[in-house]
Amino acid sequence: MQEIAQVGDYVQVEQVVLQAGERAPGVPDDTASVPLLMRVKGFALSEAAIGDEIKIETVIGRTVSGKLVNTDPRYDHDFGRPVPEIVEAGLEARTLLREPGTRRRGDDL
């Protein structure tokens, strides 16, 4: 990730929406003790370094300000790892359906 965003780069900013003491009444203590943060992506309206306050224009044309946290945001969620317990469960079920006397799709072919 670049340390500096240029004007027009697609970036992500973070804003404190509510400070720890300003949270909704009745939230659990662990939530009440941390700020409510917001992240939004959009095009940088000025040059900025990571951590700088910056304004961005979002894809629908709204201007949002916040601290620059990402100069080249990435979708990094994935499929995880194959889970052996699940693979085994599937194989066992397939074996059950191959037992003699079990009706299977295509038996009448």
Binding site: V34, L36, V40, G61, G80, R81, E85, A89, L96, R104
Partner: protein, 474 residues
């Protein structure tokens, strides 16, 4: 915008903000401190079933295939008593444009927004509804903002919600992503106030009328193929809209005797607004954290009167463990060749157990699937669970502890539903109605309203009111 944006100030303006963002006057349906005219609200602000079908057909929503799960039915019969094991069908709602039944709700909401002249729509949702609204908004040329609860305070995002956010962005929406907390609603109000967009809430009459076609199609397709209506329809239950709309649609098709069963993943013990619990959940919807509070107090929603009122329609409510839903998600993939879910497969897990109670000639319909993808998949969720200290293992699913242990069944015979008392939820709804309105006595008409709200007789309602020391006026 120079208005005060503190939490208290914004919440104090919620009535006027919501009213402007819906262009809908709920006050004309109020009938006393407790009661309101639910059917009147549905008729006068909604659309007829024929209109809904036309609107949805125009944008490629609905008319999804009904698939018979023959291999899963066969597996059910292997573990059922002789003669038991109903035929299981699934409505493949993943084939809607945005990958879930939520396209039906969004199709109506966004149509209504355009008809009323709004230039954009906003929805506060961490679920499939976001992508559904984004998809419908882009095809109608409206701007769209989706507000999500995504991160814990370490800024670690729930993988399933990250995927849902990506999908919203793919449809050209701005996605506002927040850390854990109920202030999602507060943020939505701020954005509505700033933009003057339409509140594409899940809980308006449009959001519910859009699902009636799903129940209608289920009845129609089963009748066409099997010459009878389904005996049981199982619905994954969270906010109540899916169950309410489906049940109403079944009735409109004439399937009056079909039993409607709600199913949720049991996440008891995990607090929905807790920063620490947030990423210990392996299901982000279809769970008791939404299912119970929304059924027992529907008007907690982001509209004055929620059109999703599950207790009016629910005949039975059953709970499943997380491991059981992951297990049947694998069965659906490797036995039926359908990679779907996982959250939407909660009803399929329930169906696996419920079909064992039913005769072989009976018909059970699982009324939705949802698309799967990176983050939104058993491997993604179980990998994430392990990274967050949750133990994943084979064993007896009854040993499941939400947030600590996910137990994958050792065999199909271990999948069981646990009934959650409907009467307990009904009493809870009455208690909430009394508490939120502060009434000390109610009219006979309000007793009738409560009877409709919980689908129970006057004796039940008056006894519950008596326990709360609320008098009934003649």
């Amino acid at each position: 915008m120079s208005a005060d944006t503190s939490f208290a100030a914004v919440m104090s303006r919620r009535g006027e903000i919501i009213s402007r963002a819906l262009g809908l006057d709920y006050s004309r349906f109020e009938r006393g401190p407790l009661a309101f005219d639910y059917e009147g609200m549905m008729e006068k602000t909604g659309y007829s079933l024929e209109e809904v079908r036309a609107i949805q057909r125009d944008v490629g929503v609905g008319y999804t295939p009904l698939l018979e799960l023959r291999n899963i039915t066969e597996l059910v019969r292997k573990v059922s008593p002789p003669g038991k094991g109903a035929r299981i069908f699934v409505k493949d709602e993943a084939s809607n444009p945005s990958g879930s039944f939520k396209a039906r709700r969004a199709a109506l909401s966004v149509y209504e927004a355009q008809r009323k002249g709004y230039s954009g729509v906003i929805a506060a949702t961490s679920g499939n509804y976001g992508a559904a609204v984004a998809s419908q908004a882009c095809l109608r040329g409206l701007d769209c903002i989706i507000v999500q609860e995504l991160f814990d305070s370490r800024m670690v995002g729930q993988p399933e919600i990250m995927e849902k956010g990506r999908k919203c962005e793919a449809y050209g929406a701005e996605v506002v992503q927040l850390t854990v907390g109920p202030e999602l609603f507060y943020m939505m109000l701020r954005l509505l106030e700033e933009t003057d967009y339409f509140n594409a809430s899940l809980y308006t009459p449009y959001g519910i009328a859009g699902i009636e076609t799903l129940g209608y199609e289920v009845a129609e397709q089963v009748h066409e193929r099997c010459d009878r209506y389904p005996d049981v329809v199982v619905v994954t239950h969270a906010g109540g809209g899916n169950l309410t709309g489906t049940a109403r649609g079944l009735r409109k098709a004439g399937a009056d005797d079909t039993e409607v069963v709600g199913a949720s993943v049991d996440l008891s013990g995990l607090h929905m607004a807790s920063d620490e619990d947030f990423n210990r959940k392996s299901f982000t919807t279809g769970h008791t954290g939404f299912g119970v509070p929304f059924a027992t107090w529907p008007d907690r929603a982001d509209v004055p009167r929620n059109a999703a009122r599950a207790l009016r329609y629910m005949d039975r409510y059953v709970l499943l463990h997380q491991g059981e839903v992951f297990y049947v998600t694998e069965l659906l993939a490797v036995l039926e060749g359908l990679e779907r879910g996982p959250a939407g497969n909660t009803s399929l897990a329930a169906a696996f157990a419920l079909a064992q109670e039913m005769d072989q000639e009976e018909i059970l319909v699982v009324q939705e699937t949802e698309y799967t993808g990176a983050g939104k998949h058993p491997t993604a969720q179980l990998t994430f669970a392990r990274e967050n200290g949750v133990q994943v293992r084979r064993g007896d699913p009854a040993e499941n502890v939400p947030g600590e242990q996910i137990v994958i069944p050792e065999g199909p015979e271990q999948i069981e539903v646990r009934d959650f008392s409907l009467d307990r939820m009904r009493k809870s709804l009455i208690r909430n109605a009394v508490r939120h309105t502060g009434v000390e006595e109610v009219s006979s008409r309000e007793v009738d309203f409560l009877c409709e709200e919980i689908n129970r007789d006057r004796n039940f309602v008056t006894a519950a009111l008596c326990e709360l020391q609320v008098a009934v006026k003649d």
